[in-house]
Amino acid sequence: MQSRMHPKYYLSQEIFDREQAKIFRKVWLFAGLASLVSENNSYLTRKIAGVPVVIQNFKGELKAFENICLHRSAPLQQGFCGRRALVCPYHAWSYDSSGAVRQIPDCDALYRFNDGERQSLKLREFALQQVGSLLFINLSSDPMPLETQFSDKFIKLLEDSSKQYDTEVMFTTWHASFNWKLVYENLRDLNHVRYIHPKSLGQALKFQKHASDIFIDEAAGPLTDLSPAGLRTEMRRFSQAGAEDAEYAQARHYAWMDMVEPWRGTDGYYNWLAYPNLHIASGTGGYSFSIENHVPVSPGKTDVEIYYFTAKKKQPYATSHQVLLSHMHYSKKVVGEDIAILEAVQSALHPDAPMPSQGAYETQNRLVERWYTTLMETGHEI
């Protein structure tokens, strides 16, 4: 079966801009962990679909605004996260929880704004929703309900498991040279595990080799319902949670596991795949979690942001950050193997490269491709 993914979808700046407008500024995207903004005045900064965003805690209430001062365009908050009132460092304009200017020092003497001018000064606010410990943001001025994008079951599983996240979080970013779509395609293809990770993940977890049980290529024909509601319903199918058909080659027990309260959802390799760019996994049967957020930077560049944490600690212990670092280094090895092959794929792409040929087991990717190319090639919107 031939894929619909022409090489231009991985190479063209024009397509990239279209994706940002038609997907990334329309859908709910992972924005961070609530535990990083749990105190009054704590904040997170993000760049979401090219837009700088600040998520700020106002006495317990979380709000998301464009992180640009309305005076001289300085970022209101800087650094990944911190604790500071929402005040511009440049000329000390401060903002309240509605995004309105709270105070402008020497306003009457220096600026002489009239009441109308002053009242019109309001930061652009974005929809923000908390699911357990996870924050999702939507840049659209008319955001779809979160429940439209993700199924109730998926949201419930995210909520339930993320409530068990510990608050101590390790974080880093890898700058990868590939198109963001190569990552989700790879994540929806477990057949690569034994070839790309023979000594790492393939050793620790034995993914069952099974014949594809899909006999009908649902994605062979075109999408029938091209209304926004139809396209949203179709998109909901791309986000799934569940235990993979994987068994521990050896159920290893580590001393740190006695220090935490695991999420009791699973014994195996548990996966949450949220379209378009979020992957949460627990490869330890609910004792620890990783979050991968694949942030498109340009057609050939993707920032892979990695969060690591265990399930809730029973009590603090001195070496907990070392436990996280060991996880991080292990994941660096596994995800590094993925990154290496995906960068190789990207480097070989050119406008006349052959269209990929897919097999029956790649049905998930085929469904996403059908939806994606419809969105890119027609005027239809979600």
Partner: protein, 212 residues
């Protein structure tokens, strides 16, 4: 003849053993390897045959697990009454008023300036230089050739790798790891890891303030 038991594992055990052997021809210097179990736990049975009355121990585990394995073994030895005198290479240049703690290793041609404090269980490898009045807290690991300015404070369990240059008066947080060969001229937060395999530093948020 007094015994010197050099206890630990890995390349650093070898290094420390040979250093002691060369420096102490009048002692019976022995190397004792400590096995790590399934869950990386240390087998402390090695201490059963050793008597603090007849010799002294030196703990030589490298920076694994953020220097915590060396710390664990150091504590076990301390509980059993070993003094764990530091090793200071004859070719090291250590200021007379520098304070050197138990089980510290100072390699050949290392320079430790006046007023420095090197707390227990820290390792300063060959050729590393510590400017005046710098302070290494416990269980720190300084690799060969590292240059540290004066008035620098290095938090417990921190790691500074070869190629790092630390400006004067900088504070390096607890359990930080400076592994990128570069100049560090701003304070480094606790547990921040600059690992050469990574594109960005690794940060830890919301850790308990009581953690060492």
């Amino acid at each position: 003849m007094k015994s010197r038991w050099v206890i630990g594992g890995g390349d650093y055990l070898d290094l420390a053993f040979h250093a002691w052997k060369q420096a102490s021809p009048d002692e019976h210097v022995q190397k004792i390897e400590v096995a790590q179990g399934e869950e990386d736990e240390l087998n402390l049975a090695v201490f059963e045959q050793l008597d603090p009355e007849t010799g002294d121990a030196f703990i030589a585990f490298d920076d694994r697990f953020g220097n915590f394995k060396r710390m664990e073994l150091f504590r076990a030895a301390l509980e059993r009454g070993f003094a764990m005198a530091p090793f200071i290479s004859a070719s090291a240049d250590v200021a007379g008023d520098a304070a050197i703690g138990r089980n510290v290793f100072v390699g050949s041609r290392a320079v430790i300036g006046h007023g420095c404090k090197v707390e227990y269980n820290s390792v300063v490898h060959a050729g590393a230089q510590l400017g005046a009045n710098s302070h290494l807290r416990s269980s720190v690991w300084i690799e060969p050739g590292v240059q540290i300015g004066s008035g620098v404070k290095v938090g417990a369990h921190a790691i500074v790798r070869t190629g790092a240059i630390v400006h004067s008066n900088i504070r390096i947080g607890k359990s930080a790891e400076l592994g990128w060969p570069q100049i560090y001229n701003t304070d480094i937060a606790d547990k921040t890891v600059y690992d050469i395999r990574y594109d960005e530093p690794i940060y830890v948020y919301n850790y308990s303030p009581s953690q060492t």
